[in-house]
């Protein structure tokens, strides 16, 4: 009886996995298909990847995405680490709310409200406005990753260092920071992928001259479904896969919905 139930469970779970992966497999497979239509398998080709190398707009967008993601992840990691430590150490309801609310709100709200702010202070929309926006939504994720790491540490380590005569600063630099590093790095990588993947908030804060990869994909998809989009999607998946694998090695806990 127990075995039958497990079978039912296993079959339905397998179907859900199929639902999760089949669409992505189709994208990858058709990126090697020698046909303009994403409909039938015709033959193997690398040409859609080759075409990407000569697509100047796409290359510029990819460069922009990399710059934005590196800078935003860097700054968000510093601010998020401070927030994570502060949230763990002190009861700061305002900080807690400010860190968690952007994660809980629909993205479109942050997008339009930042658009209004930037226009109000006469800022030209471009790379800088996109970075400022990305930092805003990344801080919370870094803070949560760091907070998760602190909670798993042993308080006795710090007490021991203090008893042995370390100053608070020494304590922080030589004990706390190295111990927090996996959490901080995982948060940084998460911020990087969130930034490089973001479409909604970027859409509102980008202005005309500055496209990112997701914006580029959006405008291509709006016009037509072409295998070139499959190729760039496959590459993007590959990048995210590598980053996420590294991040999950560093801090498994934050990838378990905790």
């Amino acid at each position: 009886m127990m075995a039958r139930k497990n079978l039912l469970l296993a079959v339905s779970a397998a179907l859900v996995y199929l639902f999760l992966y089949l669409p992505l497999v189709i994208v990858v497979v058709f990126s090697f298909n020698d046909s303009k239509l994403n409909a039938e398998w015709v033959g193997f080709t690398w040409k859609w990847y080759g075409k990407l190398l000569y697509n100047q707009e796409m290359l510029t967008a990819a460069m922009n995405s990399l710059i934005i993601a590196s800078v935003s992840a860097g700054i968000a990691t510093i601010l998020g680490t401070l927030a994570g430590i502060a949230m763990h150490q002190y009861r700061l309801r305002l900080l807690q709310m400010l860190v968690l609310a952007p994660i809980a709100m629909p993205e479109i709200l942050m997008g339009v409200s930042l658009l209004v702010l930037f226009i109000m202070v006469n800022m030209t929309l471009g790379l800088i406005s996109i970075m400022l926006a990305h930092i805003t939504f990344c801080i919370g994720f870094v803070a949560l990753a760091v907070q998760a790491r602190i909670s798993s540490l042993d308080p006795a380590l710090i007490e021991a260092a203090r008893d042995l005569g370390a100053t608070p600063w020494q304590c922080f630099r030589e004990i706390t920071l190295p111990l927090l590093m996996p959490g901080i790095l995982a948060g940084a990588l998460m911020a990087f992928t969130l930034s490089i993947d973001d479409f909604v908030i970027t859409f509102f804060t980008a202005g005309v001259g500055s496209s990112t990869l997701p914006l580029q994909i959006y405008s291509m998809v709006k016009i037509a479904v072409t295998p070139e989009v499959n190729a760039v999607s496959t590459l993007l998946m590959l990048v995210t896969l590598v980053v996420i694998t590294v991040a999950s090695r560093l801090s498994p806990a934050i990838f378990r919905g905790e």
């Binding site: 039912l8 469970l9 339905s12 859900v16 639902f19 999760l20 992966y21 669409p23 992505l24 189709i26 994208v27 058709f30 239509l37 409909a39 601010l79 401070l82 927030a83 502060a86 763990h88 150490q89 002190y90 900080l95 400010l98 860190v99 809980a104 629909p106 479109i108 709200l109 942050m110 339009v112 409200s113 209004v116 702010l117 226009i119 109000m120 400022l132 926006a133 930092i135 805003t136 801080i139 602190i150 909670s151 308080p155 710090i158 304590c171 993947d197 479409f199 909604v200 509102f204 990869l213 994909i217 959006y218 998809v221 479904v225 989009v229 993007l236 998946m237 995210t240 896969l241 990838f255």
Partner: protein, 302 residues
């Protein structure tokens, strides 16, 4: 609690002020500015009109309730909200039905395979949002295999051909696809903590498997369901990309109209009105959810 930086009052401010200031400027202030914008007149060429005008040497406030009256003046926007909530509710329910067996299977499998099975749920979720939508555009495309097979079968029964693309069905499938992991993760986190001896005890006392599920597993998993539902419901409610790309003319949601007000019609005050309503809706859902889970916790862990 681990004290990471000991003593010193200033360390509290050193730590908390930079992130707090950043989020006040780029999150709290813009939200307040939007609330204010919802009472202003639209500018002549889009944007906002000045809120202070000089009228014969006298400075006067130039604010209005017109934007809010426009919201309540017709039932167009009410219907739009109801439709968006409808999409969010259906997506949440379907996610729940699909996530439950998956989360339960993972929670009941061995320690070693658990991490791998969980990683397999998370991986597609980290692929780009637009790529995941795009995948369904391929599947639902009129020249795609699915549409052709379906129409072939329908043809056998003498039914006319259907298009899958630009339909509410396509939209819901894609909404579920994009948000499913948000339901699986909290549900798994909850199911994993259940004490297996409870089920053994119930079995010893003669409860069948469905009875065990309904009387033990299901009620215990409600906090996980609540958390997952919030995580699915809110982003779906504010969605604009999926209806934009897959929904067709019938699939317009509140997010599309907000986008339209800011990017196309350039009526920022009315766009702000709609955004404020969406903000309130999201806050209400979060508060309701956290209240629900606190009540349950108060009832003695059930």
């Amino acid at each position: 609690m681990l004290k990471t930086v000991q003593g010193k009052v200033w360390s509290k401010y050193l730590l908390s002020l930079p992130p707090m200031a950043y989020l006040l400027i780029f999150f709290a202030a813009p939200t307040m500015i939007m609330l204010f914008a919802s009472f202003r007149y639209p500018g002549e060429y889009g944007g906002l009109a000045p809120w202070l005008v000089q009228d014969g040497g006298q400075w006067t406030l130039d604010l209005t309730l017109e934007n809010w009256q426009r919201l309540f003046g017709t039932d167009i926007y009410l219907r739009l909200f109801v439709k968006s909530i409808g999409y969010a509710v259906s997506t949440t329910l379907i996610c729940m039905f699909m996530a439950y067996p998956l989360a339960l299977m993972i929670a009941r499998s061995g320690r070693k395979s658990r991490d791998l099975l969980l990683l397999l749920v998370i991986l597609p979720f980290w692929s780009n949002f637009l790529v995941r939508i795009y995948a369904w555009m391929i599947i639902f495309s009129p020249v795609g295999a699915l549409t052709r097979i379906l129409n072939g079968v329908l043809d056998l029964f003498g039914a006319g051909p259907v298009t899958l693309m630009y339909s509410p069905t396509a939209m819901i499938v894609c909404l579920v696809y994009v948000h499913l992991p948000f339901m699986v993760l909290p549900l798994y986190a909850n199911l994993e903590k259940h004490d297996p001896y409870l089920l053994d005890a119930a079995q010893d006392l003669g409860a069948g498997k469905w009875r065990r599920f309904w009387l033990i597993t299901w009620p215990l998993s409600l906090p996980g369901i609540t958390a997952g539902s919030i995580l699915v419901f809110i982003p779906v409610l504010g969605m604009f990309a999926i209806p934009d790309l897959l929904g067709g003319t019938d699939g317009i949601m509140i997010g599309n109209v907000i986008k339209q007000q800011f990017m196309e019609s350039r009526d920022w005050p009315f766009g702000s009105v709609l955004s404020m309503v969406l903000t309130v809706a999201a806050v209400v859902v979060v508060l309701l959810g956290s209240r629900l889970s606190r009540q349950r916790a108060g009832m003695g862990g059930s």
